[in-house]
């Protein structure tokens, strides 16, 4: 079942190798991803794909996601988006879902 985003939430920091992720509920249909990164030209598509994959795992199709990237690798991006979504929904992470 899809998570319901209730509020705006942030996860991550502005430290090197990290990414600050802001997730906002949206009444507009679709996923809007805004990326700010020094490596946008090279890795923009990869960052976007990582975000889309995490949002799909949560079953969320309508939201705004802002990323201020400081050189985070994929699994850091995944972790920060997961944390921001859990905070925005007020729900804990579904660990049993990782067993699939």
């Amino acid at each position: 079942m899809a998570l319901n985003l209730k509020q705006t939430a942030v996860a991550g920091t502005m430290e090197s190798s990290d990414v600050m992720v802001t997730v906002k509920p949206s009444s507009e249909p679709g996923l809007k991803i805004h990326i700010q990164s020094n490596v946008l030209t090279t890795f923009g598509d990869q960052i976007r794909a990582a975000v889309e994959e995490v949002m799909a795992d949560f079953g969320i199709s309508d939201a705004e996601v802002y990323l201020n990237d400081k050189g985070a690798i994929d699994c850091v991006i995944r972790a920060r988006v997961q944390a921001a979504v859990c905070r925005a929904s007020g729900e804990g992470f579904n660990w049993k879902g990782e067993d699939r």
């Binding site: 430290e15 699994c75 995944r78 972790a79 944390a83």
Partner: protein, 294 residues
């Protein structure tokens, strides 16, 4: 991970900081401890748990023994920490402030449930128990023998001295008994003994003195809190020529015994048993890790 894996140094890296976690793998520590406890602020526990899970599962460093330190047994975070930590598949989970064997058994039972749910081999997650109080020291043997998952006890000196109302000094006489009590418990249980942190990261000479005692007492390794301590501690655990020669003799005698189909072999009248074989292999592994050609 084999039983003779080196555990000379275990370096803590904060689960709150990706750069800290990612850089830690490039030092020479044998064990990398991804920390969810003391180095993570309460409001960041959820994010750190997800970060450590993703990094251990998808960016695991090669050639290192990987440990996740979870929050305390009685903390509000322990259940979810275990859900994440077990599924990340580290070599071991490090439990802080253990005081009784039944606490370990409770954690081990929960880990078994998670391993089953995740389709993992039951028993594949090892346990390190941090002994950080007078009660933990008094019950060290019970803790070391409480569950087959337990492979190491580690002394936490700061909390231990606080529990004793003692002062923490560089001479460390206040932890001398605790060090020996933990060592004896570990030897009785056949698990590894890890010594406490030397806290002053700027005092290299002090660290050298401290780790000399660590090794002379018989510890298998030491926890370190800063990368600059890693090489100093590793060097202290480099075996002497005499130790290397003895290890080679032990292994040669075992080989000879196998060829001659002997049930038991001896060196100078001393029977060679399995722990001696493991110790000899560890000595040679330590020597090779230090660049000695054996």
């Amino acid at each position: 991970m084999g039983k003779i894996a080196l555990k000379r140094t275990s370096l803590y890296a904060s689960g709150a900081s990706p750069v800290n976690l990612l850089q830690a793998r490039f030092y020479n520590e044998d064990c990398l401890v991804y920390d969810l406890e003391d180095s993570v602020p309460v409001q960041e526990k959820d994010a750190a748990r997800l970060l450590v899970y993703n990094l251990v599962k998808y960016q695991r460093p090669t050639g290192k023994y990987v440990i996740i330190r979870v929050n305390g047994i009685y903390s509000e975070f322990i259940d979810e920490d275990l859900e994440a930590a077990v599924r990340a598949r580290p070599d071991a989970i490090r439990i802080p402030k253990v005081e009784h064997g039944y606490e370990v058994q409770k954690i081990a039972a929960r880990i078994t449930e998670i391993e089953k749910a995740a389709g993992m081999e039951v028993g594949s997650t090892e346990l390190w128990c941090n002994i950080e109080s007078y009660m933990g020291v008094l019950n060290a043997r019970e803790i070391a023998e409480s569950d087959p998952r337990v492979v190491a006890l580690a002394l936490g000196a700061e909390d231990f001295t606080a529990s004793m109302k003692a002062s923490r000094t560089k001479a460390s006489l206040e932890i001398f008994y605790a060090r020996n009590a933990i060592l004896m418990a570990c030897r009785a249980a056949g698990v590894e003994a890890i010594d406490a942190v030397f806290s002053d990261i700027n005092d290299v000479e002090g660290l050298k003195e401290d780790v000399k005692l660590t090794r002379n007492l018989g510890f298998d390794g030491k926890t370190v809190v800063h990368p600059r301590q890693v090489d100093v501690v590793n060097a202290a655990f480099t075996p002497s020529k005499k130790e290397i020669n003895y290890a080679l003799r032990v292994l040669a005698a075992i080989e000879e015994g196998k060829k001659e189909h002997k049930g038991a072999v001896t060196i100078g009248g001393d029977m060679i048993d399995k722990p001696m074989e493991l110790r000899a292999q560890t000595t040679l592994a330590q020597a090779r890790a230090a660049g000695i050609n054996v």
